[in-house]
Subunit: 133 residues, 2 copies
Amino acid sequence: MHQYGLKVTNARIKVLRILMQSQVALSHGDILTRIHGNELDKVTLYRTLSSFVNAGLAHKVATEDRTWLHALHLPEERNEGVEDHAHFVCDTCECIYCLPLVTEDMAAIPIKESGFQIKSHEYRLRGTCPSCH
Amino acid sequence: MHQYGLKVTNARIKVLRILMQSQVALSHGDILTRIHGNELDKVTLYRTLSSFVNAGLAHKVATEDRTWLHALHLPEERNEGVEDHAHFVCDTCECIYCLPLVTEDMAAIPIKESGFQIKSHEYRLRGTCPSCH
DNA sequence: ATTATTATTGCAACTTGGTTGCATTATGAC
DNA sequence: GTCATAATGCAACCAAGTTGCAATAATAAT
């Protein structure tokens, strides 16, 4: 956590551990319920999460029901600062997975020379995840 | 509006007109401020918009600040029921454009044979729009 | 045209995810 | 250990969107 310029605190250690253990992106509520026993203030959790995002340790995904999910960056994205992966939303369990993208800038294809200058892209997929079919 | 199974009302006509006149997807607030004079209740507008979405006339896009934008379907999507276009978010003016996608199922590429069954996808691009550079 | 049926409208109250202000506490540089 | 600075916890707050319900307007039936 040091190398990201963050002070090492109890709250951050706990939240980081929870994020590391999860295959899917987690909501504020998800994380809170996973902190059994020694509670964590909801505001602290909000701030912990956004400190992770600002530091480039994690990223957030907006859901359909206007909440944020958080997930650590994929291993191959560390130190890059770029977020280049797809989000997969499972129709059944509603989980959101971060999947690596093997892409040679697909974003540039559909609308080049239309006046739109593309700097980044997000790819969101819906369907059924491995544990739901 | 009849062919979509919706009663033709004042509110719906006004909102539909506003959506038709806009190049970009509009927020609840955007639409409300464009109804000069004869007011429209905010709840009515919420319900009008979701009636459009349910009827397959429009669709909604989630923004980064957890609100919904609404836009009519692109001409080529009418009567299809499928929503197959990219969303372009301008970094400067924050507008969201709906752009037609010329795609041969790009979604299938990145993660096939990984256990994820893809049913639909959304492609979101960020950058600078034509009127901002 | 009039009436009956049914969906839409408008208002107030409410829900919920998230934020702000501020005093208290803990971290890490010295 | 001391100190500056950042993180925490609490309460109050904010804003987007929803719910319940009575009043009203749009279509269908007569």
